[in-house]
């Protein structure tokens, strides 16, 4: 039976599930509930089958290579190549797809009547299907088809809630940036096609040596811009904090958890598999980009008080951490240290899985909070833990995981990244060592700042007293939403517990690469299930940690609760308020919490304070009626790069409208001049 699943027909069945889900929900678009049931059913079954398919392929370790259908254009072949790396990404996509679809089934109810649910189901299934095709296609054009399908369907999902013009603007910005990115990707593939005369990855890989090194660098730059825009690295990230919050929550969970990983998948596929051997400066560039993205990502997250934008910026930070892993892998391999390179790759892949898990958990949590509160502004939350206990607990677990606190999965992938960077510092020469020191510093500071940011986020949303009336009549989110969040939270524990087994699995994935065929990773799984690096440099044991935490916490809790002074009476009183009546306004808000960090990093973030005072009567200006302080952090990229660029293009196009001036004589003179010029220059 396993052979029948893990085969061409298995994958084909997987894709048809999503296609049926898509067109079925279009068919039922008249009746909302029916469309929702149909699309959710197929999305859930498709994702479940995807998890089954990919886990079997991973365990089995086979590779599938098949093409289906004949195309009129000989350069395009619908050829798919599912190796270990692709099946890992299929696993991540379908796992997150499964939970988001379950969550979506409950979440979509509040769109009934407002927009067509059939269209939402159609686009959602197309998105999942195209995500799967992106990570498995092995022909560049087929990849571009899936890539564009993914971008277009996610664009329409972002602008789905089009009553709010901000969503439409965010959607346009997203599609423009993605399209520019795709243009760069097309140019990169065309350059490769110029020297290898084929768009097939296998042929590209075989004849990668034909491409001259200068063109290869150009391909690297274009590919980095293209996939970097989709992954959201720093200079090209401005669409991410705008687009992800605009989409419906289960879609933004998919986009943030999984879609930006397709950029990472292609970076791995191209730079570690297809375009090998690569020069040294590629690895260093990826490392620096990773370091900068992670540090700036978390700093911008500090300034946010919109819950979804905060989580979007954290995606940028985690992408930075993943790129640290991959960048170190590329650098080590070029320097001839395959064992360390494999370690870097394992760290990157492990963090991809972890980030997918806890980021989608956080987005789903944020989604259910927004669904109840109908606003994304954290300042108006407060005290939600008493009204939404399950969501609060799962959000807490998610925040602990993303800040890499020990027992959970985030810690182990960051531990592996640290090991890769430590070895970089330990074994490399002077100039390279300083790049690794910079990377380790950025990772260390990112860890600390992420922790601060999530204390701010969690406390602003769930703790202390409600800061708006709306909080009073919120109630816990519906059952399917709770189930998906609870399972994701428990997954972070389980993945943390089995991290050594998973590291072994990632090592097998790594070894499926041609460049890592014979190498074993620097950090291996020793006999008694704990991670140990080769020279005994460092080792950590996940089960050991869980055991230790559990026992000690139990002893302390039971000790104090039972042994010492059992008959202690606990009275309920008001919080100490130095005698004043304590109003919710006196609590610390999200902006207040982050103000000190923002002031410390003020030359990076350039915060601006605007005081406007309203007086009773304008002349005498002594008795202010009201005083408003607005603190804002401008988006530097927008002001110094993107807006001037747009103004310049608008200027040129306005000036070029003069060609169409409306005067016949001028038009004829164009033809006359064209004739004269052509006659004289050409002859």
């Amino acid at each position: 039976m396993i052979e029948s699943i893990v085969s061409q027909s298995g994958f084909f069945f997987l894709i048809t599930l999503f296609v049926m889900g898509a067109f079925g929900s279009l068919f039922f678009h008249r009746n909302d509930t029916c469309a929702n049931v149909w699309s959710s059913f197929f999305a859930i079954s498709g994702s479940f089958f995807g998890v089954l398919f990919s886990s079997l392929t991973l365990l089995g370790g086979q590779e599938l290579f098949f093409t289906f259908g004949k195309t009129p254009f000989f350069i395009l072949a619908f050829s798919l190549h599912i190796d270990m790396l692709s099946s890992f990404f299929i696993f991540v996509i379908s796992l997150i797809g499964l939970f988001c679809s379950i969550y979506g089934f409950g979440y979509v109810k509040h769109f009934y009547g407002k927009y067509s649910i059939g269209a939402l189901g159609f686009l959602y299934n197309i998105l999942l299907g195209s995500l799967l095709l992106v990570v498995t296609s092995s022909n560049a054009l087929f990849f571009l088809i899936a890539w564009e399908l993914m971008s277009i369907s996610s664009y329409f999902l972002v602008v789905y809630d089009r009553n709010d013009p901000k969503n439409v603007k965010a959607g346009s910005l997203y599609l423009i940036m993605t399209y520019v990115g795709t243009a760069f990707i097309i140019l990169a593939f065309l350059l490769a096609y110029k020297y290898t005369a084929s768009f097939d990855f296998a042929v590209l890989k075989a004849s990668a040596h034909l491409i001259p090194s200068s063109v290869k660098d150009l391909i690297f730059i274009f590919a980095m811009i293209g996939f970097g825009t989709k992954a959201g690295i720093i200079p090209f990230h401005i669409w991410l904090p705008a687009a992800h919050p605009a989409a419906p929550s289960h879609v933004s969970a998919i986009m943030s958890g999984v879609m930006i990983k397709t950029g990472i998948y292609m970076i791995i596929r191209l730079f570690l598999d297809v375009l090998q051997p690569i020069p040294l400066w590629w690895g260093e560039a990826v490392l620096i980009i990773g370091a900068v993205s992670s540090l700036l990502g978390v700093l911008y997250a500090m300034t946010e008080h919109d819950i979804k934008r905060l989580l979007a910026y954290h995606s940028i930070e985690n992408i930075g951490i993943i790129l640290l892993g991959i960048g170190s892998a590329m650098t080590f391999y070029t320097l001839g240290m395959p064992t360390l390179a494999l370690l870097g790759l394992i760290a990157g892949l492990f963090h991809t899985l972890n980030h997918a898990l806890f980021k989608s958990l956080l987005f789903l949590g944020a989604g259910s909070v927004i669904d109840q509160m109908h606003t994304k502004n954290m300042e108006e939350y407060g005290g939600l833990i008493k009204y939404m206990p399950v969501t609060a607990f799962t959000f807490l677990v998610g925040s602990m995981a993303i800040s890499a606190l020990p027992p959970l999965n985030g810690f182990f992938s960051e531990w592996l990244t640290y090991q890769a960077l430590f070895q970089g510092i330990n074994q490399l020469s002077f100039s390279l060592q300083w790049i690794f020191i910079l990377a380790t510093a950025s990772l260390a500071f990112t860890g600390g700042l992420a922790l601060t940011c999530f204390v701010k986020a969690f406390s602003a949303i769930f703790l202390a007293r409600p800061r708006s009336v709306e909080v009073m009549h919120t109630k816990e989110s519906s059952i399917p939403m709770q189930i998906s969040m609870a399972v994701l939270a428990s997954l972070t524990f389980i993945v943390g517990f089995f991290s050594s087994f998973l590291t072994h699995m990632f090592e097998k994935i790594g070894q499926s690469f041609t460049i890592f065929q014979t190498t074993s990773s620097f950090v291996s799984v020793s006999s008694d299930q704990h991670l140990q690096s080769a020279s005994g440099f460092s080792f950590v044991s996940a089960p050991g940690l869980f055991l230790l935490f559990g026992i000690v916490f139990l002893c302390v809790f039971l000790g104090t609760r039972l042994l010492i002074y059992r008959k202690q009476k606990i009275a309920c009183g008001n919080t100490w308020d130095c005698g004043t009546t304590l109003s919710p306004r006196m609590e610390i808000t999200a902006t207040g919490f982050a103000r000190s960090i923002v002031l410390i990093f003020k030359n990076v973030l350039k915060p601006s304070i605007q005081q406007d005072v309203e007086y009773h009567d304008a002349e005498s200006r002594y008795i202010p009626k009201s005083r408003a302080v607005t603190m804002r952090v401008e988006n530097m990229y927008d002001i110094y790069f993107y807006r001037p660029l747009q103004k310049m293009i608008d200027g040129i196009s306005l000036k070029s409208k003069v060609i169409q001036g409306g005067n016949v004589n001028v038009y004829i003179s164009y033809i006359f001049l064209a004739l004269i010029v052509a006659l004289f220059i050409v002859l």
Binding site: F73, I186, L191, I671, V682
Partner: protein, 483 residues
């Protein structure tokens, strides 16, 4: 034999249309004629794909590219006739036009279609020139159809610019004829004779002649410096005509231009004509993408998109080899997608009765099917992957990047600019919210069926090309690539 059948049917229908008083007779007659022309077009195409270049009655000859363009004209002609019947019924309901206008419209439409037919099947350059002159005549009146000052102005500009262009084209053709005249070859001069003795055309005359022909017929195709009539003509002409103008007339003019390029390549090698094609192609893409960025009228937007696609086709034919394969595919896809877009633009015009982009609000809710058609059309025409135009672009840029990487980069930059400009307008029209409520409704169902048919045609053609068409395209690639 098919051409004679065609002429007799056309003459009969035109005369009877002028005589009859009843509108129903006119509509059925024009329907019959255009369906017959469509069938004959497909028959000749099948014949050409099996037999090769078809010549009959010495005056008419159809080669592979001609067959493809014939099919385009036939199918788009039929679609336009069907759509015009529904469109004009809606317009008469809104009291915009009377019965005489309808009669004049259908007569001119049939003349226009037949003139394009003649241009393709014409054996000699002069007949092709005359046929294209006839198209100018018929479309001039069609553009001034609504008898408003702005329509007259559009028609006047169309007339002046096109006749200057065609006169230059005429002069260029005559220069080619000097090669034949010098060796006393009297009588009927066909394309074939010009090709045979392209040798004894002195190189300098060939260059000058090609420049004149390029500027002349380039005006008809709509290359950059000579494109100025297109936006005015497309925005003032009735919507169905826009589809014909950009879907059928553009390939016809391109076809004639390519014939002359063949002759020049034979006499002085392809590098001369290639550089000219690159210059005009790139200039058209640049100008169109820049102006399109903030166009204010969606019909003018479609005109600029036609100019840009003409530029891309010029690049394709300039690059040669696989580029020609891409360019021919591009021509087919572009004509089909322009039909979809112009018909949906027509529906929008009927519903909102304004062509200004800023007045169109919340169209996705008011006219859902047309909006979906227009959005899909926008995605197709800007070359997003799942649809065919992406592949033709990849072919063209793929061959281009081999010899001239810089041209491909610049072209790619402007194509992205086109997408961004188009997206701004699409979001403004379809995703914006409107305060006043417009009762949703699509009007006549026949307004929506032709565009949906062509959309399905594009999707079908993007994934599987029928064998006879593939054979024709390969023949074109062999015939038209010189080196």
């Amino acid at each position: 034999m098919s051409i004679l059948l065609l002429i007799s049917i056309l003459l009969a229908s035109v005369i009877s249309m002028i005589i009859t008083k009843k509108r129903f007779v006119i509509e059925t007659l024009s329907l019959i004629t255009s369906s017959i022309t469509c069938i004959t077009a497909f028959l000749t195409a099948l014949q050409v794909s099996s037999v090769g270049t078809l010549t009959f009655f010495t005056f008419f000859s159809v080669d592979a590219l001609g067959a493809i363009v014939l099919m385009i004209i036939g199918s788009i002609g039929l679609a336009t006739t069907i759509y015009s019947i529904a469109y004009l019924r809606e317009e008469t309901k809104k009291q915009i036009i009377g019965f005489t206008r309808v009669k004049q419209y259908f007569v001119l439409l049939q003349i226009f279609l037949f003139a394009m037919y003649l241009a393709i099947t014409a054996g000699s350059p002069i007949f092709a020139w005359i046929a294209i002159e006839a198209t100018t005549l018929s479309t001039a009146f069609l553009i001034s159809f609504y008898n408003k000052p702005s329509a007259i102005e559009g028609a006047w500009k169309y007339l002046i610019i096109n006749s200057v262009g065609l006169l230059l084209g005429f002069f260029g053709t005559l220069l080619y004829f000097t090669a034949v005249a010098s060796i006393g070859e009297g009588g009927f001069v066909s394309w074939q004779t010009l090709r045979d003795n392209a040798g004894n055309l002195s190189p300098l005359i060939a260059k000058i002649a090609f420049v004149f022909v390029l500027i002349g017929y380039g005006t008809k195709v709509g290359f950059a410096p000579m494109h100025t009539w297109k936006p005015d003509a497309y925005s003032k002409a009735p919507a169905p005509l826009g589809a014909l103008l950009s879907g059928a007339l553009l390939p016809v003019a391109f076809f004639v231009l390519l014939k002359f390029k063949m002759i020049t390549d034979l006499s002085i090698g392809s590098s001369f004509s290639q550089t000219l094609f690159f210059v005009f192609g790139l200039f058209s893409i640049a100008v169109a993408s820049l102006i399109m960025f903030n166009a204010r009228n969606y019909k003018r937007l479609l005109a600029y998109s036609s100019i840009e696609n003409a530029g891309i086709m010029a690049l394709g034919f300039g690059f040669g080899g696989l580029g020609i394969f891409g360019a021919v595919l591009h021509m087919i896809y572009h004509s089909a997608v322009k039909v979809v877009m112009f018909f949906s633009a027509g529906n929008i015009l009927l519903k909102y009765s304004t062509a200004k982009i800023c007045n169109i609000k919340n169209a996705l809710k008011v006219i859902p099917t047309t909006s979906v058609l227009f959005i899909l059309g926008f995605l197709i025409v800007t070359g997003t992957p799942p649809f065919g135009i992406f592949f033709s672009k990849i072919y063209i840029l793929g061959t281009g990047i081999k010899m001239y990487p810089l041209i491909s980069f610049v072209a790619m930059f402007f194509m992205t600019m086109v997408f961004i400009g188009f997206l701004r307008h699409v979001t403004q029209m379809f995703l914006s919210r409107s305060s006043e409520t417009q009762e949703p409704g699509e009007g006549n169902v026949w307004l929506v069926i032709p565009p949906i048919f062509f959309l399905l045609l594009i999707i079908l053609l993007s994934f599987s090309i029928p064998p006879f068409l593939e054979h024709l395209i390969h023949e074109v690639v062999l015939y038209y690539s010189y080196d």
